[in-house]
Symmetry: C2
Subunit: 325 residues, 2 copies
């Protein structure tokens, strides 16, 4: 039998994890023949609720789930882990300013970055889902100097998947018929969801939809999709976020299909003129676990302006938490 | 491409469905090459929340999900459906007596039974999860005279899976090493979770654990597991219930393994002296979609007494709602 793969999940008693953990336990990432051990991290007050989740995980009798570690200590949680989902983050509370939110999360993710630096596998893949995801990922990365920047990514995949769905619905095709949408920038309302390079059944997307729809409907719909789901459900996107996290990690592990890219928040190398050392969502391909930013796409003035707006927001976020990195 | 399979889910905006729907959309039941169309049924006031769930389902861009029907009308929901999960049920409210609960659910399930009778596929498989599941299933079945009793089952699989897990933990083995536990009777605290015939790595379970553990620990743990999960999580079992629903339907569709059985609530044919015409959980095997109660197991006096207690409860439940069947 294969030896188990260790997967850590923070915020393990939260809503996204309640979808994510059961997917992982069902073999969503590595299939039905690869045993896994889940390392579940929570803050101390949430450990009793997490025990209930652990009972349910066990009651699923999934054959791949060979063990569960429960802890409130990041160094225990991340010990020898190969794959880490940083899902837990402090949500915005009443009276909390945006900068307060950045700061409180910066503390959480700097601690977790240091723990990863110390105890995780040197090839660990760390996917940050907890918001503000891009800047949280940057903080974790900067606090893990003995790991490589390539060990970290921020989640863009939920936005990416939402973009595929909107374009597919507009064109009356299945989501599988759409490829090469791009999410540029921050996982926030400044993101630029881009269909300029997208294909629908191998046709240029922009030959099938009106530019005005792209600008006035599509872009704001993707930017505000999270808020619309909250309004309808009374709760934020959880199941679709968990699915997207598995998708992003899955592509990171298994690679992307020939001729296709996905969107991932990675450390900018200056591509497309984006300031280095920001976690910025780019189109990427993955081969043998190595992520490469897609180069050479032609960026028109409209797109460049949108990308700049999101870059500016990320620079501001970084300035706020600069003392912690 | 294969033509889509139509799957209906009631209580689609509820907690169990929030786990179940995303499993179904991911191809959990029929695999990655079989398109499905989900028919989602909810009560009218829950339709706005259900819209949020639909957004998230679409945002998952699952290739097998080819369509979604949303309705508050059972006749629309069940039209030409091949597989139906009756998840929605009225939970016990403040000041509600047990008989009130039975009665209000009896009305829901008689309406749904009549709708199934009228519009569902003649080979429909209807799995009732909503509690009181066994009696709700009986009501639906009795209100569908043009379908066969074999079209209906009540969920025992969550209890069955819980029993596997407890026995595996006690013996220090993986859940995959345990087989042929049995849940007898009602999905309630009167159920009899039985390891008398169970095997652990092909050894008799009762040769590995003490009888006193079986009687004093194992049985009450399974009977009360739901309450313990609620106490820890603050919410009832949802993800594990959804997993169990997929497991039960999956065995119903694809059959059971040679030499193994599972537990399902089915219409009693008098086996083991259980009164006919009750939905009672038995050990069953499935071949080509046909469910057969496992015959000829030797039942000792202790077991017989436990089975009678649960049978008595089901007879009382049936008497309460007799006027609706």
């Amino acid at each position: 039998m294969k030896s188990p793969i260790h997967i850590a999940v923070s915020g393990a008693a939260g809503q996204i994890s309640y979808s994510l953990l059961f997917r992982l336990a069902a073999g969503a990432l590595f299939g039905p023949d690869q045993p896994i051990i889940l390392h579940l991290l929570e803050i101390t007050p949430a450990l009793p609720a997490l025990e209930g989740v652990v009972m349910e995980l066990k009651d699923c009798v999934n054959p791949v789930l060979h063990g569960i570690v429960v802890t409130d200590d990041p160094k225990v949680a991340f010990k020898d882990t190969d794959y880490v989902f940083l899902v837990g983050a402090r949500p915005r509370g009443p009276g909390m300013e945006r900068n307060d939110l950045l700061e409180v999360n910066a503390h959480i993710f700097s601690t977790q970055g240091r723990a990863l630096n110390e105890v995780a596998s040197r090839d660990v893949k760390v996917l940050v889902t907890g918001n503000p995801a891009n800047t949280n990922a940057l903080i974790a990365l900067k606090n893990a100097p003995n790991l490589k920047p390539e060990n970290f990514s921020a989640m863009s995949r939920l936005d990416h998947n939402r973009a595929i769905n909107q374009l597919a619905e507009k064109c009356g095709v299945l989501s599988a018929d759409v490829k090469n949408v791009i999410i540029w920038g921050n996982h926030s309302t400044t993101q630029f969801p881009d269909i300029t390079h997208a294909k629908v059944k191998d046709q240029e997307a922009l030959s099938l939809v009106e530019k005005s729809w792209f600008i006035n409907d599509f872009i704001p719909t993707i930017q505000q999709r999270g808020a619309v789901v909250i309004k309808a459900r009374g709760l934020s996107s959880a199941a679709s976020a968990a699915k997207a996290a598995v998708d992003q990690m899955s592509n990171w592990v298994k690679g992307t299909k020939a001729g296709e890219w996905v969107s991932m928040g990675v450390l900018s190398d200056g591509s497309y003129g984006i300031t280095e050392d920001l976690m910025f969502s780019f189109p990427v391909t993955v081969t043998d676990g190595k992520v490469s930013i897609v180069k050479g796409l032609i960026i028109d003035e409209f797109s460049r302006e949108r990308m700049r707006l999101s870059e500016l927001e990320l620079k501001e976020e970084k300035a706020t938490i600069m003392h912690l990195i």
